[in-house]
Symmetry: C2
Subunit: 896 residues, 2 copies
Amino acid sequence: MATIKKYVYLFEEGNAKMKSLLGGKGANLAEMTKIGLPVPPGFTITTECCIDYNNLGKEFPEGLEPVILDSVKTLEKKIGKSFGGEDAPLLFSVRSGAPISMPGMMDTILNLGLNDKTVLGHARATNNERFAWDCYRRLIQMFGNVVMGLEHRQFEEILEHHKEKAGVHYDHEMNTATLQGIVEDYKALVKRSTGRDFPQDPRDQLIMAVRAVFDSWNNPRAIVYRKINKIPDSLGTAVNVQTMVFGNTGNDSGTGVIFTRNPNTGAQEFYGEYLPNAQGEDVVAGIRTPKQIAELHTEMPAVYDQLYNVCMLLESHYAEMQDIEFTFERGKLYMLQCRSGKRTAAAAMKIAVDLVAEGKIDKPEALLRVAPDQVEKLLHRGVDPKAKLNVLATGLPASPGAAVGAAVFSADDAERLGQEGQKVVLVRPETTPDDIHGIVEAQGILTSRGGMTCHAAIVARGMGKPCVVGCEALRIDLDRKQFTVGDVTIKEGDLIAVDGATGRVILGSVPLVDPEISPEFKKLLEWADETRTLGVEANADTPEDARKAREFGATGVGLCRTEHMFMAQDRLPVVQQMILAETLDERKAALSKLLPMQQGDFEGILEAMDGFPVTIRLLDPPLHEFLPNQMELTVDVAVLRERIATAGKTGANAGVLQKELDEKEAMLRKVRALAEFNPMLGFRGCRLGLVYPEIYEMQARAIFQATVALKKRGLHPKVEVMIPLVGHTNELTRMKELVKGTAEAVMQETGVTFEWKYGTMIEVPRGALTADELGKDAEFFSFGTNDLTQTTFGFSRDDAEGKFLAHYVEKKILPENPFMSLDQGGVGKLIQMAVNAGRGANPNLKVGICGEHGGDPASIEFCYNAGLNYVSCSPFRVPIARLAAAQARLKKERAK
Amino acid sequence: MATIKKYVYLFEEGNAKMKSLLGGKGANLAEMTKIGLPVPPGFTITTECCIDYNNLGKEFPEGLEPVILDSVKTLEKKIGKSFGGEDAPLLFSVRSGAPISMPGMMDTILNLGLNDKTVLGHARATNNERFAWDCYRRLIQMFGNVVMGLEHRQFEEILEHHKEKAGVHYDHEMNTATLQGIVEDYKALVKRSTGRDFPQDPRDQLIMAVRAVFDSWNNPRAIVYRKINKIPDSLGTAVNVQTMVFGNTGNDSGTGVIFTRNPNTGAQEFYGEYLPNAQGEDVVAGIRTPKQIAELHTEMPAVYDQLYNVCMLLESHYAEMQDIEFTFERGKLYMLQCRSGKRTAAAAMKIAVDLVAEGKIDKPEALLRVAPDQVEKLLHRGVDPKAKLNVLATGLPASPGAAVGAAVFSADDAERLGQEGQKVVLVRPETTPDDIHGIVEAQGILTSRGGMTCHAAIVARGMGKPCVVGCEALRIDLDRKQFTVGDVTIKEGDLIAVDGATGRVILGSVPLVDPEISPEFKKLLEWADETRTLGVEANADTPEDARKAREFGATGVGLCRTEHMFMAQDRLPVVQQMILAETLDERKAALSKLLPMQQGDFEGILEAMDGFPVTIRLLDPPLHEFLPNQMELTVDVAVLRERIATAGKTGANAGVLQKELDEKEAMLRKVRALAEFNPMLGFRGCRLGLVYPEIYEMQARAIFQATVALKKRGLHPKVEVMIPLVGHTNELTRMKELVKGTAEAVMQETGVTFEWKYGTMIEVPRGALTADELGKDAEFFSFGTNDLTQTTFGFSRDDAEGKFLAHYVEKKILPENPFMSLDQGGVGKLIQMAVNAGRGANPNLKVGICGEHGGDPASIEFCYNAGLNYVSCSPFRVPIARLAAAQARLKKERAK
């Protein structure tokens, strides 16, 4: 007989290190139990059990049920109460708890163990009949909803009906008789809707609840959450079964949530909220607006002091800011949960830096404590302080950053419009896990209810989305899709702004400004720079971008795209002249007009990045991108012909129309000649330079003349000329002759000598496959991973993202969108091959990456491990890259 | 002091094995000299000398000139005549001679050594003043043209003028005085046009001629020829300097060309032509129509017999059909050149098979003697013998095959129209090497002059283009771009056909038919099948194609594309229903209509290929390919709107127009939703199957139901289901579940079990890079090298070939068009990696190739060496592939 796995751990059997087996919640309950804190006794069913359950096709593994019931008996003995006992019955809470915290799964069932009989014993034991019936009412409601699948709304309707009948407004005003009536109606609802009675056997309740937790691992919300947060499906969730304590037995009871530091700012303050005479769900659901924890100090100083001491102990114990749930029952404190607290990026910075100052962690640990992805949020914009604002109302500042968008009133609308590219702000009374798909697509979130720890606040902070909650001045009418504040009505589609840093809700569009970097952030980035060996450069096409990149800490421009300069409004006509030229002389004439413009661009960028390398990519896009749209021209021509044909009847001036037609037709012929079936794989990159060498020659001349101009001013320009889209060594060799010849000519003409580097972008697989040959001519490689991903997968990004990539990611055909995070198994393999082969040919080869992946932390870690010299990313992401580069090194060293 | 290289070899110093140093012509002259044949003495300046000359920037290597003049002295001693001597002067021919025969370079200068003084000695020595002056006239004309750069036309004008003045029609009717006048005018022309005198010093003539040969290596015609024939630029050409003999001293002299077998049919017959009283150039240029060699037998039996014996000796000596140039001077025979004779594919087959039968070569040698590329020509179509033809005229059948096209009258027009995709037949009085670019683009060639060995005939045979020459009935008017035959006038653009097998010129379009395979071809292919280990399958989408492929020797269908079945006119509406379906049920309803159609297709193909594997690729192209064109719809909609807007004035029926508009707009919305920026990299291949599994399920069901139907009829279907465009192992795994599930369902429903294979096309780099993973699920890989080439290079074939690929090949940025011959350095590297990795995961993995490269001999050789199991190509190319596969194995074994 096979050994039966140990599926159930009493709290005293576990510890904080057992997170993967017991889940985060279970492991921390065990740890708190171990260090002697007041934790209501309980046990944890392991994540392994969940996995086995799912593998068995939703069947309990053999022997599980007896072990659970044995553990219940152990608790009965410990507490001295009986589960299902008719006197002072033992009641349980049942909560899910995955190794990684996961809103979206079934959260909590309270008061489990009550039935038509035990409710009477519970009333006797607590000497509070109303309380007992309220507990029973809550159990049926929660159980009916999360275990038996009824809708929350169905229960609320019964509740509202009874409150109306009883003429009361708040839940706590209901009397025993009302509650008993509600229980009857709830039970009838359950029977009617599911065909089954609400289970009266507490053991049935428990087993059904455990199953519901296991099942919730695979509910759609949980799957979406895991997808967004890149949590493997294979982890499974644990189930925590804990004896109940009651925060709702009267005004000397209550429940709350504490952060040991301010999760928004990181300030060292005791930060939290509580609700007197309430159960935990009341706080989390955000239905009643809770009190600040400071009030507890006034109202129940002993409980407050004990709570404070326990919280500080926990923070020291874990050397990390804690998010703690507690309940006090008739003045006695119980700890229900502790975990590393979610926080804003700013808070994460400050806490990490403060913990180092406090001697609790070292610098490498501090660096690893801040998720680089999250740092991005610090760089989000705020409302321009100088702007004149029409502030409608102020709510709680739940997640920093400011957003402007059209008001929408359902998650579905937010998702639909957001995916169509509209900027929307999702406005709801409160949000639930069912709304995640809308929150993902919204620019910002606004709720009229809830506190700083309500669902909307937690989720928005996690996603770095601006969020204002508990804005009670809003009167939201979901049916009419509008809200009113005073006498102002905001309808669906009206523009509003939310400022998650201050809680302001603003009418209309508002100007936003860039953020400043905090001292803690600066400190952390200094440590990152001391730690990392991977260079961080920036992609910058203008002097302004280059300056910003330098401010953010970039030590070079890894990619300067020259085509954006071609697109400028005053240049486009000249560029078009160049493209439409019928002869080489005509083309050269147009190019000679572009030369001084390009030279000016380069001078500005080189000056902004003086002393650091600037890698300039010669013209890359297909020439038709600079010409009018073929479809529009074709339509214009067809319509003009129609007008000319009917001019006799309509009285239009055929001569004028004919002239217009002739011009449009001439342009259309050119546009057609240049049109391509697959422009991504067309006549672009160095292919242009090889067929029209005069274009690249002009650009090289502009670069080198700019270099000379700066050197004459005493500056230190360091240019690197980059040839795009190289797939064959001959392309690189031919273009080298041209560029080198131009450099030599400029030196001779000006009498000024200068250093420069020649290299290539590797962005088609053949470039990577022949890196040994390219390495002979190139002094540097820069992986253009956007295009390299497109060609390696055979994915056109423009098409894939709209057509099938979402499906691929959703169905986990691909682990993630390869344009967001580098595909290490395919594209990464090519990169590694190319790095090795290129360095084999040229040991001094400088190697970097300049696709969007250069700003993605996981990709940066790959680049470090693959031996790249630098990454180049958007100026905005430079700080993220600096931190990620430091972490990459630390992780590699820790893995040794 | 560095040793001076031996740049000059007397004929008696060389032999046939020294081709790379002495060129083909020089080596064979040496060999003939060695075996005692009557070869006029001479020497060869080496190819190495040519290379050094070009590397030195067109300077003679040190010491070359003295060595040449020393060699001249040696010849003077041997012959007893003096070069530049005023009595019986020694005269030379100077001819180029590359290691690989190359029309397009400078060919021949005759009579070198004549000047104003030696012409008198030459007259005295030959006792023929007219002859001597004719020689001198020819020298100035040839020298002026090929060495001094004057145009042939300029000399012809003077000649015509003098002939008119003298009242004569033919060259040989001119008397001494006329010729002397021509010489004067020629010299004046040279002086006037070049500013230099025609060189009087024979040594100057010789040195200038040698330079001209070296320079001709890099003239545009030679470069084009090398490009077309894939000859490396690095070989260089030798120069042959040979003492003159004269075929134009009277009617007992003459010159001619012999093939030891018929170069068109391979028949064992003495095949050739000669011109009495002429020099070699007269034959080759095709200006006078020569006599059949049989006439020589009658006219000069002794010369004929000697010639016959020498030719047979040479063929035996080389064990190969020879192309021989000879001259007889006053009844004495001289051999001027021998070489392996160019021949048609049919002749190559027959000669190779006959030589084996004659015991002269073995089977492997015979297999290696036939160029697979050339075999294709055997498979060219002919004129349908049952067709009623309007035969305009009959010329010489110079190159087999039949072609239909619009008549054009210049190489430039042929090139332009041909590149635009028009089928043209190039009609010229005669062709010259300057016309190559037009011949390349023409479907067929027709000339009014020239014999079977004229330029047009040789070039057309080499390219496998149908060609009719010497069609003297044609009166061509180049200025008016037309020709007349009797009272029929054919203008530019009129359709004509040429039948190169019979020499017929036919008015209008004619039906063409497929060729039959000769017994020799069959024999050779049998030997190839005994030799090769690489399988040859065919790409076939219809039962007809499959039958043809099987006839041609394919042992399977390596690629059956299912989308062509979708395109059939009666099915497209159903396919569109399927695409436009709003719901899954609608789509399934349409698919269920397609199911029996697809099943029928598969039954037909499986039956045709019964017993052999049939690899069926599931749907690959993007769905928008089955819908109307977006551009046209957009124009229609815009024009309809315009018409509706002006309906009041024009009197159009707005209601009817509005209805049409509504329909078009509805379709346009769908088309727009499916439109893609880069369809090549878009929503196609297995991406369709993953998002719309019901499509692939229908196809799998059709395949398996067809299998069952055939098994029930006692046949032996062997299906292989191929998933296209796989880049990630998950794609292959998911689709395997679907296809396997369908197979099992069909087996269960029908009670018939069957074997089948599952595999993938590898056509994006990521597929090749992750072949180790794909090999776990796949039983076979098939490299789709068309798409793999596109994605590896980042080339869209549709765009590249029209925009920059021609430039790339012309400028040798790429050695050749990678869509024609597999890019071994890049795409081949990926293939080799994938074969190794795939076999690592699955040692029984069957690996093949199904891109167009599967029919390209060089690519087939690569496939064999890379360890592939089979190639799959168009049915037409199956015989070529069989031969190439045998050669690949033989070459590898010989290289050991």
